[in-house]
């Protein structure tokens, strides 16, 4: 206990945290603009007739045309975070709006969006505005050259959790022994410069599989260790640029590259902020004078809140162990666990609406209800298959159909295996509750 208190009292220069805040805010704003620019607000949120909900967050609804306003507020708050202007309010607003957007439709789930929600939640509790920010510039009482050491360490820890869990998830026989799914993915990248012609080579698939696993598991270690840090950071850049070239993963590589800079010490960040000061003609010395460390009332609770949060982060990805069966097949405990670019799964779900009394039946054309993106996501994920079944059942009941039972004939193929039946076609999904219990209507996976 004493050791913990001692650790919590250690201080360090605030520059790394300030730099992290600046780049995080900026990248988030760019992400929001990019999302809008690509027309995804309309395509992913406004066009679909129905939306898939997270358990416990059914109250989150797409607010029609106000969705654009939501994105405006989210983007502006990201900008304010970057500037460090009204920081605490801005980061709370950013966390809430961004997370709200992510909760609007489960089919848009991406690990890196979750990562951003997690980081912004942590940032709420950190004094990232005390150095090199508008808040600190305007108010000398906010200014502080120092922060607590754990304020920076906790970000490193979060990155370590992401990388190491992502790496451990790769240690499965498909990834390591069959080089799957990279064997499927890489050959279609024949048209990238320099290495395109090698993309169909078997050894390349193994090289990338093994290289990716080793990288994920070890990179944080190399970043923490001073003598390997620069080399490790170069690896971070190469690795993420490569993933950017090979896969459609948007802003994620850049977010990871900039986040990894947190591992450099304050001298690096001092220099970096020095450059920024020159470019934008900011009087950096103003921030360097205050050697004291300042406290908000929030700082008292922060270690407790974040301590519990990090414990949650350590345990939550392991919840798949509580379910029987292959987590790739059942996807029970698959999300929020840093399983990134891990499998190739394709599915097909054909719904049958049956009148339980007369036996009269018909099939559903999914096009009538779901966008192509939603269909693709729904057909491989049992929780979405179930939610959609309930939606269909309620829809047809409200249309005047009676004794509605909903069955699905579905197939899925995992990592290049032949397709096999996915959901028990004899189970009336209307009778299955949407909850976290083991989904017994998922048929066993035959390898």
């Amino acid at each position: 206990m004493e050791k913990i208190n001692k650790y919590l009292d250690q201080t360090t220069k605030a520059a790394p945290l300030a730099a992290f805040r600046i780049f995080f805010g900026l990248l988030m704003m760019l992400s929001i603009i990019r999302f809008w620019y690509h027309g995804w607000i309309e395509k992913l949120y406004l066009l679909p007739k129905m939306h898939f909900h997270y358990l416990g967050f059914e109250f989150v609804k797409v607010p029609g045309d106000y969705t654009y306003l939501l994105f405006v507020v989210c983007g502006l708050s990201a900008l304010l975070v970057s500037l460090g202007y009204k920081y605490r309010v801005a980061i709370v607003v950013f966390f809430l709006t961004f997370t709200y957007i992510e909760l609007m439709d489960k089919t848009t789930y991406l690990n890196h969006y979750y990562f951003i929600s997690v980081l912004s939640f942590i940032l709420i509790w950190l004094p990232a505005h005390r150095y090199f920010s508008v808040d600190a510039y305007k108010d000398s009482l906010v200014r502080s050259t120092y922060v607590k050491r754990w304020h920076i360490d906790i970000l490193k820890m979060m990155l370590a959790i992401v990388y190491i869990y992502a790496g451990l998830a790769k240690l499965n026989s498909d990834w390591m022994l069959k080089a799957m799914p990279l064997t499927i993915w890489l050959p279609t990248k024949f048209d990238i410069p320099l290495i395109g012609s090698l993309m169909h080579e078997k050894w390349m698939h193994y090289l990338f599989s093994w290289g990716g696993a080793i990288y994920d598991i070890t990179i944080v270690g190399f970043l923490l260790y001073k003598r390997t840090r620069v080399l490790a950071f170069i690896m971070v850049v190469i690795f993420h640029v490569l993933t950017r070239v090979l896969f459609p993963i948007g802003m994620f590589p850049y977010i990871m590259i900039f986040s990894a800079m947190i591992f450099f010490d304050h001298r690096f960040h001092d220099k970096l902020l020095g450059y920024l000061s020159k470019i934008f003609k900011i009087n950096k010395s103003l921030f360097d004078k205050i050697e004291t460390i300042r406290y908000d009332s929030i700082d008292k609770f922060a270690p407790i809140v974040l301590g519990v949060f990090m414990l949650f982060q350590l345990l939550f990805p392991l919840r798949f162990l509580a379910y029987p069966g292959n987590v790739f097949w059942t996807e029970q405990g698959y999300r929020f666990s840093w399983r990134v670019m891990l499998m190739e799964k394709t599915g097909y779900a054909n719904y049958k609406i049956v009148n339980g009394v007369t036996g009269k039946r018909f099939y559903v054309q999914n096009d009538d209800f779901l966008t192509p993106t939603q269909q693709k996501q729904m057909s491989t994920q049992p929780d979405l298959i179930l939610e959609y079944a309930h939606y269909l059942g309620n829809h047809f009941t409200s249309q005047g159909h009676e004794h509605v039972e909903v069955y699905v004939e579905s197939y899925a193929a995992l990592n290049g295996r032949k397709s096999q039946p996915f959901i028990d076609p004899n189970v009336d999904l209307m009778k299955k509750k949407i909850n976290l219990s083991n989904r017994i209507f998922i048929l066993p996976f035959n390898d």
Partner: protein, 369 residues
């Protein structure tokens, strides 16, 4: 932890990597890469363009037969008009799936073969003589289905039909419909001949908008929506619970509906296998692409499974009447059985084939992770 420990861990991984690699080195043939450009060239030069030229020729024929009929409406000109209509309708089945380029931008399929046709709207158009066939609201008052209604459905005996058709307002409408089919097709065909072939072949990358990805998606969409659902599933009541015999293709002439379905299925197979249009030869196509990636797919012979599945579907049609409308009304079970066979191929294509080729069934170019 010090550096030597890291190196120790890395060397263990390295040894493991070599061992894992050895395991997969049994397929030396994999080293050659698949030439998507050659496949696109084959599709354009030997399948799509010849099919469009052929279709345009038969439409030309239809235009001439129509002109002859309007000039001299009698049984013989009527018979050659209906024969020309059927020929053109059959050849249409071979281009319908290629909803790309000009065909996509002008909406060729929507103006050509939306059924069931709206005969009330057709009658209204004819009597008012005011209609704009370019409007989407007139999709179901034109094309082959509308001509099917005019040639076979406006009532009574052959003589009575000929008499009605020879009236000025009817023959004007018939003429407009047929001329429009020709003009639209001519635009698409000329575009392929002039510049689009080159553009199509040069777009040989791997993005969601590359030619291969687009054509494969078009192909699947056609199979699922127009062949499986349109020609069989919807009339058999698969999606409604009630059979809708009037929703078959060409219900007024009746006896051609099975033939048109078989023609469409043949076109699908030819494209998949790479058979050159109306020649005995073949070039590389999806089947070869699947066979190329086959060693990676635990040796599941997806291509053969798909072709076999279509074989099962065709054998199901043997007990089915030439007139699908009649079949639905008298013994719909056979239609449902046929549908089931077609459906199994959807799973093989949408799941196994798309995964093996790593082509996304997804028109939104969104992020993944």
């Amino acid at each position: 932890m010090n550096i030597s420990k890291y190196f120790f861990i890395i060397s263990i991984f390295f040894v493991g990597f070599i061992i894992a690699c050895d395991d997969g080195d049994e397929n030396p043939s994999e080293t050659a890469s698949f030439d998507r450009r050659e496949m696109l060239t084959n599709w354009a030069d030997n399948i799509i363009v010849p099919a469009f030229i052929n279709y345009r020729n038969y439409l030309q024929n239809l235009v001439e037969s129509k002109d002859a009929f309007i000039l001299r409406p009698n049984e013989s000109t009527y018979d050659s008009l209906t024969a020309a209509w059927l020929q053109a309708y059959k050849t249409w089945q071979h281009v319908s799936m290629f909803d790309i380029g000009k065909a996509e931008s002008i909406g060729l399929r929507n103006f050509t073969n939306i059924y069931p046709t709206d005969n009330a709207l057709i009658n209204e158009n004819i009597s008012s003589q005011v209609y704009n066939l370019e409007l989407p609201s007139n999709f179901d008052a034109q094309g082959f289905p509308a001509i099917d209604y005019l040639l076979f459905g406006i009532g009574g005996s052959k003589e009575q039909i000929i008499e009605q058709l020879s009236s000025d307002d009817h023959s004007q409408y018939l003429s407009d419909l047929i001329n429009r089919l020709y003009t639209l097709t001519d635009t698409v065909t000329e575009d392929w001949l002039n510049s689009y072939s080159e553009e199509f072949i040069n777009n040989d990358g791997s993005s969601a908008t590359a030619s291969v990805d687009k054509v494969v998606n078009d192909f699947l969409f056609y199979y699922e929506k127009y062949l499986r659902a349109g020609k069989v599933g919807i009339p058999a009541g698969v999606f409604s619970g009630n059979k809708i015999s009037s929703a078959v293709e060409a219900p007024y002439s009746g006896i051609h509906s099975k033939l048109l379905f078989l023609e469409g299925l043949e076109a699908v197979q030819n494209f998949f296998i790479g058979n050159h249009f109306e020649k005995g030869t073949r070039g590389i196509s999806l089947k070869d692409y699947l066979d190329f990636v086959r060693p990676q797919n635990n040796d599941a012979d997806i291509a053969m499974n798909i072709v076999d599945q279509w074989g099962s579907a065709i054998s199901k049609t043997q007990g089915i009447s030439d007139n699908l409308k009649e079949q639905v009304e008298t013994d719909n079970v056979k239609m449902l059985e046929l549908y089931d066979e077609l459906q199994i191929a959807v799973v093989l294509m949408k799941v196994d084939m798309m995964q093996a080729l790593n082509i996304q069934v997804d028109y939104v170019d969104a992020d993944g992770d």
